[in-house]
């Protein structure tokens, strides 16, 4: 019975802080590069000028209306989904949990497909709202169903309720898409997860939700660690697990609901980034949350950049590149960092 995972427990808080800073710098560099690189490569100075001294020139317009919104969407969606995933895994104590587990993706997809089936493609920016509301309602139903009676005292109730609601909504969505080719054509890029053609207006709609969610998550990290000890232990320490599970679901709705509204259902980030973070820095959620936020944002920004550069297509869905970039890394970590059995 020796240490099950290696290379992690030696990390002191100072080292964690330093790593966090490095990650932050990496994210800034990646975001700047993502804005700079494209069919026309811009120097960083021009990007700064476009942000602070906008002069309406073609380059500035390109930066402010096409490239920057796309990068901002990637940062927001990535950070939010990763944090939401970390919260879900702590709450359910289940490595398979992701924000999708509370029906976020299924709810958002159902809402978007319904709106497009009914009103056609010309819904414009409003679909962001529908997506968010659909996600939120689905998650609330899951939470209500999952808190019923005695099952509600265990995370299993939440898990089963999530599967039920998710399956139901996905079936409805599929039924609509099978019989409606034009809607299928319109939403298939969205369902792949994409940050192409995002506007500042869309990003602005979603920013408040995600920022509030992130701040709340950062403040509540400590409670998440307690919650992850299990319902009995958490109660014996004076924590009301039902209340905190509810608060966690609320935060997940803000974060993942906002992210999905912006970038479509990118499932992989929320599932995998928290695992990578825990494998690297441990299970103290005061640290897991900030690391997940930066790591998730970094993954999505880089994945989107790779998609544009390698595949040479502006509309290459970022959901696909995230998996192509993230999955091999994740597989490597799972093979090398996880020893022994559970």
């Amino acid at each position: 019975m020796t240490g099950r995972r290696t290379g992690r427990l030696a990390m002191t808080n100072g080292a964690r802080m330093a790593t966090l800073l490095v990650l932050f710098c990496l994210l800034v560099v990646a975001a700047m590069s993502a804005t700079a690189i494209g069919t026309v490569t811009m120097p960083f100075s021009r990007i700064a000028a476009a942000i602070f001294q906008f002069d309406g020139s073609r380059d500035h317009l390109l930066i402010m209306t096409i490239r920057l919104p796309r990068v901002i969407a990637a940062v927001l969606a990535g950070g939010a989904l990763a944090v939401a995933g970390a919260i879900m895994q702590a709450v359910t104590n289940n490595p398979l949990a992701s924000p999708d587990l509370v029906g976020i993706n299924a709810g958002a997809a159902f809402a978007v497909v319904t709106v497009m089936t009914l009103f056609g493609e010309g819904v414009g920016d409003i679909y962001v709202w529908f997506s968010f509301v659909g996600a939120a309602i689905a998650a609330l139903v899951v939470y209500a169903l999952g808190s019923l009676g005695s099952v509600g005292h265990s995370p299993l109730g939440l898990v089963l309720a999530g599967v039920i609601v998710g399956t139901f909504l996905t079936s409805l969505t599929t039924a609509m898409l099978i019989f409606d080719q034009s809607t299928l054509d319109a939403v298939r890029l969205w369902t792949a997860g994409s940050v192409t053609g995002r506007t500042m207006a869309q990003a602005r709609t979603v920013v408040p939700f995600i920022v509030v969610g992130l701040v709340a998550a950062l403040l509540l990290g400590r409670h998440l660690t307690t919650l992850s000890l299990g319902a009995d232990a958490s109660r014996s320490l004076g924590q009301n697990p039902v209340v905190w599970r509810g608060a966690s679901v609320a935060i997940v709705i803000l974060l993942a609901g906002g992210a999905v509204a912006l970038a479509g259902p990118i499932g992989f980030v929320g599932l995998v980034v928290p695992h990578i973070v825990r494998m690297c820095i441990g299970v103290d959620y005061r640290w897991v949350i900030p690391f997940a936020a930066l790591g998730g944002a970094l993954l999505v920004v880089i994945a989107d950049m790779v998609g544009r550069l390698v595949f040479g297509s502006q509309s290459f869905p970022v959901g696909v590149t995230i998996a192509l970039v993230g999955a091999p890394f994740f597989l490597h970590l799972a093979r090398t960092r996880l020893k022994g059995e559970t």
Binding site: N94, P95, L96, L101, L145, L148, G149, S150, V151, G152, L156, G157, V159, L160, A161, V163, I164, V165, T167, F168, T170, S171, L172, T174, A175, L177, I178, F179, Q181, L184, D185, R188, L189, T191, A192, G193, G267, F268, L271, V272, H275, P317, G319, V320, T321, I322, A323, L324, G326, A327, P328, F330, L331, A334, R335, L338, K339, G340, E341, T342
Partner: protein
Amino acid sequence: MIRLIVSLTLLLAVLVAASLAFGDVSLTWRELFDALAGTGEPDPQSAMIVFDLRLPRVLLALLVGVALATAGTITLAIMRNPLAEPGVLGINSGAAAAAMAVIVLVQDPPVGLLQAAGFLGAATMALAVYALAWRSGTSSLRIILIGIGLSALATAFTTLLSAFGDIGDVQRAMIWLAGSVYDASMVKVRLLALWLIVPVALALVFARELDLIRFGDLSARSLGQPVDLVRGLMIVLVTVLSGAAVAACGLIGFVGLIAPHMARRLVGGAHARLLPVAALIGACLVVAADLAGRIILPPVQLPAGIVTGLLGAPFFAYLLWIRRHDHR
């Protein structure tokens, strides 16, 4: 226990009879009985409807239900995770990727090719997950995580094809993936039945091993179980079972996850009881789903995989609701 098995069997029989009787042309119970027993004045048309059109379809649905529920029960036991279903091993994503590739990349693929691709995709993924998770032994968590990683890659491939493929092809692939038993034939039924006999029987034989492995690797090993061997064998069974189900009628989700959970609530955790009850529940679910898919919105036929979600999910929620005061 015996009462439960009998009532489930009766329920299944009623569902089968109803599936044979109802449809575009509905038969009376009398006509159905005559056609089945060959009594009275046999009406050649109703005999044709019952034997050639509906019976293969119903039997196929029944077999697929048994296969999915058995595979789900095994997966739940070896993964020790309430969310685990055969999809965890990458089976669904592998089959979906292979089928999508065949439909989008091959002009007018024959049905046989599609089925073979589905099975091969599922089997390849399961094998890859197990192989990658092997590091002088396996662990449930590592299998789950590797499964997540590889599934993500396969799903990315599927998404890519669906995002850029011909829209008509994509739609056809979605229908196939939604899981449907509409092109059933007696040949297919016989093939599937033969294919399923060995793995289902093996699962029953290994019921005690499944009871044991649920306790955790260490306890199981201390009781003399070669854990890695058993887990490997069980994964082969799961692959054979759900791969065949996928090949027969595409992806029918939910059954593999929900049937074992329902069975566990009814008869507890011993697999000698759990397996047959789950299999019966799975058969009922898929037969009922196919029947409902045919009669909800005629003449439209909803794929059974969609109906399992639409009807199974609320039903399961109802079960949670009425049993909310029970402990355990």
